[in-house]
């Protein structure tokens, strides 16, 4: 066997393994969509039908008849917008402070901030819940949105790393011309930071969409539910209706997948930069 056939064979084997594992990763999602397009009669058969025959669409409109998913969607979007705006503004301000300005106590505060990322959230969850209860915020969106306006340690860290790569000369020149720190931040730094800001927007979007514990704790009125909590309640009401459940799940998953496909580059960079789980 000559060398080039050997390399060819090696590549082939590699592809075969990658495809086999790829099937393991993709089949559950295919199965989800497939089930959502079946009637009960088609679901409970062996061997399973991968492509439903006939394709049953009615699970999708049924989801909206049984639960107010449009309302949950609207609520989720309201929280999304507030969290994204809040996180962007606050985290970039704080990151600028940590990357460009010097003051006593800075290193201590920076380490303090990083260490909060390692803390289990349970350590502050209970008093925070009591606090929000006492000030009457339970059953409002405030507990889910207001904290976003006070910065997020992970994104502060991410943005700071990015700011550090911007040459300082740009700002020095502006400083000499009498530019204030805030104007430098707003007019010089932020426009240069768009890719990193995009990463923060995407991760915040995913985080809010994914959040279950927060809405579970703070939203009691079904009118206030987000998609995550709405879907969980839907499960408890339609426990065995798999076509319906998979249709609802598919609709919750789809926006996330669409966002992912359009923003893959920032996404991958962000994960690599922070080691964050998406």
């Amino acid at each position: 066997m000559n060398k080039s056939t050997k390399i060819m064979l090696d590549k082939l084997v590699r592809h075969l393994i990658l495809i086999a594992v790829g099937v393991f990763f993709i089949l559950p999602l295919v199965w989800m969509v497939s089930t959502s397009l079946k009637s009960n009669r088609q679901i409970f058969v062996f061997p399973p039908q991968w492509i439903p025959n006939p394709v049953i669409w009615r699970n999708y409109p049924d989801v909206f008849d049984y639960a107010s998913f449009l309302l949950y969607f609207k609520n989720t979007i309201i929280i999304e917008v507030a969290c994204i705006v809040g996180t962007l503004l606050s985290s970039s301000l704080v990151a600028y402070g940590f990357s460009r300005l010097d003051a006593p106590g800075k290193n201590f505060l920076f380490i303090l901030m990083l260490s909060t990322m390692m803390l289990p959230y349970q350590v502050w969850m209970i008093p925070l819940y009591i606090l929000f209860t006492k000030i009457g915020w339970v059953n409002t969106f405030y507990p889910l949105t207001v904290p976003a306006f006070f910065g997020n340690a992970l994104y502060i860290f991410l943005l700071r790393q990015f700011f550090l790569t911007i040459p300082k000369e740009l700002e020095d020149a502006a400083r000499i011309d009498g530019c204030s720190y805030f104007r430098i931040f707003w007019q010089i730094i932020l426009p240069l930071t768009r890719p990193a800001l995009a990463t923060v927007v995407i991760f915040t979007f995913m985080g809010v969409w994914n959040d279950f514990l927060g809405p579970l704790l703070y939203l009691q009125d079904p009118e206030k539910y987000t998609l995550a909590v709405g879907l969980q309640v839907f499960l408890s009401q339609h426990g065995a209706d798999w076509g319906l459940l998979m249709a609802a799940s598919t609709m919750v998953v789809l926006p996330v997948i669409i966002v992912f496909f359009f923003t893959q580059k920032q996404f991958i960079q962000g994960i690599v930069l922070t080691g964050l789980k998406g």
Partner: protein, 293 residues
């Protein structure tokens, strides 16, 4: 004089810029942490004010069989999932780290499961793990294996959840892949010139240079494993027979179902200590196996 003025200006600017985080930290993290330490020493049901009982909650916890059960379940999950997850992710990243066509497509496919939102993911996996009509047991049946009861079985519920977690290991694959791509090509070339075999290059170059990345996933993976909540809450609600009653779930129940806020706060502090000690141990052990340039 002017210099110190400038310096003062900078200090003032620094604290102004970081003030959102500083205020947020005091209100939403630091303050609550101190309050939680105090609550853990009290009997507190929210309905009446906290009553100081010293270490009462802690000693009750040590005599609470469900506390130990939840700790056992969590450790079981962590011990099964983390090594398997690292192994799968590392293997996949090595297979991907080649001059292959379609790399981006594979990467997308492996990563896709980890972006599926938690609740939808939980519902999907209840269905996948359905003993009779779920995909997994149907596939097993197709090759002549009678699949287990998964979430309905005391023995198989935890492995079922581990399987689901492994499916979502895509972000580790990406982290490892980035690490592998950062290994300098010259090292491999030099080793090849010296006559090192492929296997030797792997064990003496790739693995040592990847240890910091593996260490990172080990530390964050362990912290994450101790906080597993959503799956267990939605998929099994701790059952069957408390076999998936994980630490975070039992803590949640104590706090928000039984309103034992003091008791749950004590659990939170024990969790904090466990995570802290495990992380410190790992950093200590890291000196033996993690390679830093």
């Amino acid at each position: 004089m002017r210099r110190s003025n400038l310096k003062r200006q900078e200090i003032f600017a620094f604290y102004t810029f970081i003030s959102p985080w500083l205020i947020g930290f005091v209100l939403f993290i630091g303050g609550p942490i101190i309050a939680s330490l105090y609550f853990s020493l009290t009997n507190y049901t929210v309905l009446s004010s906290p009553e100081f009982i010293g270490f009462g909650n802690y000693s009750s916890l040590f005599n609470d069989p469900l506390f130990w059960k939840s700790l056992y379940n969590t450790v079981y999950y962590a011990v099964l999932f983390i090594p398997l997850g690292i192994l799968v992710a590392f293997t996949m990243s090595i297979l991907l780290n080649q001059d292959l066509k379609g790399l981006a497509i594979y990467r997308t496919i492996y990563y896709l499961p980890s972006i599926v939102p938690a609740v939808a993911n939980a519902i999907l996996w209840i269905w996948l793990l359905n003993p009779q009509w779920g995909l997994i047991n149907m596939l097993l049946k197709a090759i002549g294996i009678q699949g287990p009861g998964w979430l309905t079985s005391e023995q198989w519920a935890k492995p079922g959840l581990v399987l689901m977690s492994i499916w979502g290991v895509g972000s580790w694959i990406i982290i490892y892949l980035a690490g592998l791509q950062g290994v300098p090509e010259q090292l491999y070339e030099a080793a090849e010139v010296d006559g090192a075999t492929k296997l030797q290059r792997f064990f003496y170059i790739t693995v040592p240079l990847m240890t910091p990345t593996i260490f990172f996933t080990l530390v964050t993976g362990l912290i994450g494993a101790f906080q597993v909540f959503t799956q267990a809450y939605i998929m099994t609600n701790g059952g069957p027979v408390n076999s998936t009653l994980f630490y975070a779930l039992y803590l949640f129940r104590n706090a928000f179902n039984y309103l034992k806020m003091g008791y749950a706060s004590a659990m939170a502090w024990i969790l904090f200590l466990i995570v802290l000690v495990l992380t410190l141990i790992q950093f200590r052990l890291a000196r033996k196996w993690v390679f830093y340039e």
